[in-house]
Amino acid sequence: MTAPAIHVDQATVRYGDVVALDRVTLSLAAGRVCGLVGMNGSGKSTLFKTIMGALKPDSGTVRVNGGPPVRARKSGAIGYVPQSEDVDWAFPLSVRDVVMTGRYGHLGFTRRPRRADHEAVDHALERVQLTGLADRQIGRLSGGQRKRAFVARGIAQGAGILLLDEPFAGVDKGSEATITRLLRELAGDGAAVLVSTHDLHALPSLADEAVLLMRTVLVHGSPDEVLRPDNLARAFGLDVLRREEPV
């Protein structure tokens, strides 16, 4: 049996006195799309940072592709699509420049791209249908196009694992469908895709499986199972749902 793409085992992360992740255990196999659902502050971004190695768990372990995350990072296995708020959209880089940064781990001291790198970037841009906008400054893209640019960076990188933090926030329905289709295709090619999302309606069409996070994993199962009212009530608070039920 091959090792899962991502395996988080009993990981606990604290910021000072605040417990951001409490003994989180999560496995994701290659070729699967997993939706990560939870309130703001439920630890989704912290979980991403822990998987990437930007945060070290206070206890517990993270394994990526069966090995330590450092090795996976160095081999370019982990692609990351940041939240919109974390990106300076006025930064003077073109779409092509941003996608090229996916190749940096494969390049030498000065990161001067070679022919193969330009080809990988062209191919990635084509895959996300941004070829015609490649020379635009990144801020001059629509919300959905911006997300696809970062997905293209992961493709150019050759990342087998894609982590997407709220890719559907501020994105119209049409673009959301395009991104969903793209992620399904990438999973079909063997990528493991972990997506945090607030869009519960679209979850079944996006994900093979879903995780309900509330600092710890409440449920990990099929999207339908995660979306059961009693489960959502545990993650989002009981009051909200009670009010909607007929008295």
Binding site: G53, S75, P92, Y104
Partner: protein, 302 residues
């Protein structure tokens, strides 16, 4: 007086030739570094490090070691202290910067006051462009060349660090290391520019060229060309003006850079104040005039 004479007359003095060379080196190195500083949001950090290197330079003078060494030690010390005060107390970063760099600057002033040869060292504070001797020029040129070469060779990494440090982490590189390298090069740059502009005005040369270039282009690669060209032109203009008007050279250079920035701020095609207003108005007009498309009409009647 012809333009030719106007340009050549100052250069009949060898001190002016050395001043011009030192100015060009400092202007170019500062300008290249400033592209990253303004994009990361480290302008205040540039201010802090440029002041904090003063005691390092004075101690290096006393001990007879290269200025660059003392500057880097105190530049790094300043950044570390700022980080410690910010992370281990309720003090916010701007206050931490304000406390640390002024204290280190004051230490430098006190050290100068107790060091026998005062005249040399006071020049560091306000710059003494016309007093640049051969040895100074060699040090400025050598350190400037090393700094510039490192900045240019690692420019892609620094740009990625400025844009997306999380991605730097995700592909197995170290954002901490890149940040530290950039701060070290900032300390080097401060030494290069000390005699030209002086500790107090170095920050202008570390911020204005990058900020100006950022208003003129949406391509980082072009910023790296525009900023040094702008900076060098402004610095040379300032130097000539100071010669003919008999004013302080460091101050004049910064004054010209500031005035040129003001022009760009107002008149830059896309990101200037006036250009921005015009494009926005055109944009609005285009949208109000636009007739609804056939599909939109069909959708409406359906």
């Amino acid at each position: 007086m012809t333009l030719y004479e106007f340009l050549l007359e100052p250069l009949t003095y060898s001190f002016m030739v050395r001043a011009l060379a030192a100015t060009l080196v400092a202007a170019v190195v500062c300008a290249v570094l400033s592209c990253w500083l303004v994009l990361i949001g480290w302008s205040l950090m540039g201010d802090a490090v440029s002041h904090a290197v003063l005691p390092g330079v004075v101690l290096a003078y006393i001990l007879g070691v290269p200025f660059a060494l003392g500057a880097v030690v105190f530049g790094v010390l300043a950044v570390a202290l700022i980080g410690v005060v910010r992370d281990t107390s309720r003090i916010k970063e701007d206050a931490a910067i304000g406390i640390v760099f002024t204290t280190l600057f004051a230490l430098g002033l006190v050290l100068i006051s107790v060091t026998p040869s005062q005249t040399d060292l006071n020049h560091i504070i306000f710059g003494s462009l016309l007093g640049v001797d051969r040895a100074d020029l060699i040090q400025i040129a050598a350190l400037g060349a090393v700094t510039l070469a490192l900045l240019i060779l690692k420019r892609r990494d620094f740009t990625l660090y400025a844009f997306d440090p999380t991605h730097v982490q995700a592909i197995g590189l170290s954002p901490r290391l890149l940040g530290a390298a950039l701060l070290g090069l900032l300390a080097f740059t401060c030494v290069v520019a000390l005699q030209v502009a002086g500790v107090i005005l170095v920050v202008a040369m570390l911020v204005i060229p990058g900020a100006t270039a950022y208003l003129l282009t949406d391509r980082f690669q072009r910023m790296l060309l525009i900023a040094p060209a702008f900076s060098a032109a402004a610095a040379v203009t300032g130097l000539y003006l100071s010669y003919y008007l008999d004013t302080a050279s460091g101050g004049m250079i910064v004054l010209v850079q500031g005035a040129a920035f003001a022009l760009v701020y107002l008149f830059a095609p896309r990101h200037g104040l006036i250009g921005h207003r015009i494009t926005r108005r055109r944009h609005l007009q285009a949208h109000t005039r636009e007739a609804p498309s056939i599909t939109e009409l069909e959708a409406y009647h359906r």
